[in-house]
């Protein structure tokens, strides 16, 4: 089962493939270090540029960016109390007070070593868990695959939290976008309005760039945020000198890694949830909980290890079932699709070198974090915070246009991307979740194809969808995913009603 993993290693160590990981990690740290930019946005902008690249080069860039950005977010979180990425939300709790004590450099080094530890653990989890799971999913027929798609959509809507009506609207919108173009079986024209450009459907890349890149750019231009910092006052020491001071964090690293991996596997949960859970657990078990929130570097370790531990593990359901665990994983699925790699059971059988190579790239990306984000680079990345946001915004706009235009060499795609961007901005501001849109687009076509295939096999009999045990299990899981959070919400509101003195949200205990 794991022999394919070893066979894929030599390819990953090839010059271009390895260089892609290095470039990706550096680019990811740069992106993560800039408040307002995220890994999701960076990968969305990158995806169109990877069209002409070899799959492993493209995936290496994505894996590097993902790992790098998860750590990069710690830079502004620690130095300015502004999380560079949503996943770094718990890092300022102790990162900023540590920096205020003149130990900003040490806080960032704790962040980079913890991030690397979490990333390595996550990559191993991906390597160990994905292959056996893919073997199981190979047994799935069209009706099971249809239910897996429904399960994926349901889980990302209902486990994401927030308003389920808004989540469902997002998913319906995504699935509706997936049907635009010619019907795959009959060739019936669906909503093309005579435009040949969308006869083959709407490219996921156009949707990704519009939804995930345009709203952050508008945010960059909307808020004139001052982010100046003096990198010379960080008190950075060489990383090999500071490593011995971190040896006491090993329990936090292991605990945070396990939390991050578990959260990553759960569809809908993300790095910020992992980071807060890990921080809470580490503080709860600490011998000196009173020092937490006042500049305890172990708090930075707890947060950063968990938000990096959910990176590769989020790809376990994504690669094996086609269900991404996080928004970034959903965008990465889009990146796989444009290289003709359909996530799901057949991916492991048809493209083992690429899929296992991708796993190695996650591992190397995590290891490279220490070297690329360590002592030498810490001050340089801190200086990135001084880049003017309006200039950054205007450059990203140019990159978005180039990326989308170069897919087919036509301006129509650019206008379409701007349309999706406007929709994405409104959705973002009104708290409609964006991952269900992407997943709807990916799984919509997949679900329709398999539903129609199943119905053909069953000669139009709809009961074929419920005629085997695996389908029924997946249906039961889907019902559990839909009903579970509703019951939990009702239970919590009843409990709150019976204890009126308790503030909603006081249970997290992280708002010091």
């Amino acid at each position: 089962m794991y022999s394919d993993l070893l066979h894929a290693l030599p390819d990953v160590l090839g010059f271009y493939n390895f260089a892609a990981v290095i470039i990706g990690v550096i680019a990811g740290i740069v992106v993560g270090a800039m408040p307002g930019l995220s890994a999701t946005m960076a990968i969305s902008v990158l995806v169109p540029f990877t069209f002409g690249l070899e799959p492993l080069v493209a995936l290496g860039l994505m894996a590097g960016i993902y790992n790098g950005a998860m750590y990069g977010g710690a830079n502004p979180a620690g130095l300015l109390r502004i999380p560079g990425t949503p996943a770094a939300g718990a890092t300022p709790l102790d990162g900023y007070p540590t920096a205020q004590k003149g130990q900003g450099g040490y806080a960032l080094q704790v962040a980079v070593v913890s991030s690397a530890f979490g990333g390595i653990a996550s990559a191993f989890a991906l390597m160990l868990l994905a292959p056996p799971l893919s073997k199981v999913t190979l047994l799935f027929g069209p009706s099971e695959v249809f239910w897996v798609a429904v399960f994926g959509l349901a889980s990302i809507i209902f486990l994401l939290g927030g308003n389920p009506v808004k989540g469902l609207i997002s998913a319906c919108f995504g699935v509706f976008v997936s049907v635009i173009g010619a019907d795959p079986i009959f060739g019936t024209d669906r909503y093309t309005f005579g435009r040949l450009e969308i006869y083959d459907g709407i490219s996921i890349v156009i949707l990704l760039v519009g939804l995930y890149a345009l709203p952050p750019v508008i945010d960059l231009l909307e808020v004139p945020l001052k982010t100046e910092t003096d990198a010379n006052k960080l008190g950075t020491e060489p990383i090999w000198k500071t490593l011995p001071r971190m040896k006491g964090y090993w329990k936090t690293w292991i605990r945070g890694s396990l939390i991050g991996i578990w959260i990553g596997i759960l569809p809908g949960a993300g790095g910020s949830m992992a980071a807060f859970m890990s921080y809470n657990e580490a503080r709860r078990t600490s011998k000196t909980p009173d020092t937490w929130g006042n500049g305890e570097p172990e708090g930075v370790a707890a947060s950063e290890v968990a938000n990096n531990a959910d990176t590769a593990s989020a790809l376990i359901p994504a690669l094996t079932l086609g269900i991404p665990g996080t928004a970034v994983a959903a965008v990465m699925l889009g990146g796989l699709l444009i290289h003709g790699l359909q996530p799901g059971p057949m991916l492991f059988r048809e493209n083992p070198d690429i899929v296992f190579g991708f796993m190695w790239q996650f591992l190397f990306g995590a290891i490279l974090l220490v070297f690329l984000g360590g002592s030498l680079a810490t001050n340089s990345f801190a200086r990135l915070l001084n880049l003017p946001r309006p200039l950054l915004g205007s450059v990203i706009i140019v990159l978005m246009l180039i990326g989308v235009y170069s897919i087919h060499g036509r301006m129509f795609d650019v206008y379409l991307m701007l349309g999706f961007g406007a929709i994405g901005y409104v959705m973002d501001k009104l708290k409609f979740p964006l991952p269900p849109v992407v997943l709807g687009l990916i799984l919509g076509a997949f679900a329709e194809e398999n539903l129609r295939l199943a119905l053909r096999i069953g000669r139009g009999d709809w009961t074929i969808l419920f005629q085997n045990v695996t389908s029924l299990i997946i249906v039961a899981l889907t019902v559990a995913v839909v009903v579970g959070p509703l019951i939990k919400r009702r239970y919590l509101s009843r409990r709150q009603a019976s204890a009126p003195g308790q503030e909603p949200g006081s249970k997290t205990g992280t708002q010091d």
Partner: protein, 153 residues
């Protein structure tokens, strides 16, 4: 701070829900001319969107009836509208005037309008961005960008 809207129909979520209902209802019409299996998924999704938008509308109106103020979508509406207008103008300029001239104007213009007003920094940034794009995409990857519809004729 702008005064809160008195009309309950002007709440952002209500307007969004009404928009979804109107657009979805319009898109339902073409499904009547499709084969049943081709129409199945789009019709199901559009029906779902209409039902969900009605639920969203009811929930928002219930909040309005309870006196709950809607959260503003943006803290700086003029800056957001300006950003959108400039981005669309840049795309149109690329289409009609060509990529390189539009980019050379847009990069410093957007940065200037939104608060970065260092002339030397703007000049260097424009030169670096346009030059890097030409080197990497134009020269290195032979990527062709729109030359501009005006100049074609």
């Amino acid at each position: 701070m702008s005064a809160p809207h008195t009309n309950r129909l002007f709440r952002p979520e209500t307007l969004t829900a009404l928009g979804i209902i109107a657009v979805s209802a319009a898109f339902v019409i073409p499904t009547f001319g499709m084969r049943a299996m081709s129409a199945l998924l789009p019709a199901a999704m559009l029906a779902g969107l209409i039902i969900l938008a009605v639920l969203l509308l009811l929930s928002d109106q219930r909040k309005a009836a309870a006196g709950e103020e809607p959260k503003p979508m943006t803290s700086a509406p003029k800056r957001v509208a300006g950003a959108f207008v400039l981005i669309v103008a840049y795309a149109l300029a690329t289409d009609f005037l060509g990529f390189y001239p539009s980019t050379a104007i847009s990069v410093p213009l957007v940065a200037w309008i939104f608060g970065y007003r260092n002339p030397l920094g703007l000049a260097v940034a424009t030169l670096v961005v346009v030059g890097a794009i030409w080197l990497i995409f134009g020269l290195g990857m032979s990527q062709e960008f729109p030359a501009g519809r005006f100049w074609k004729d």
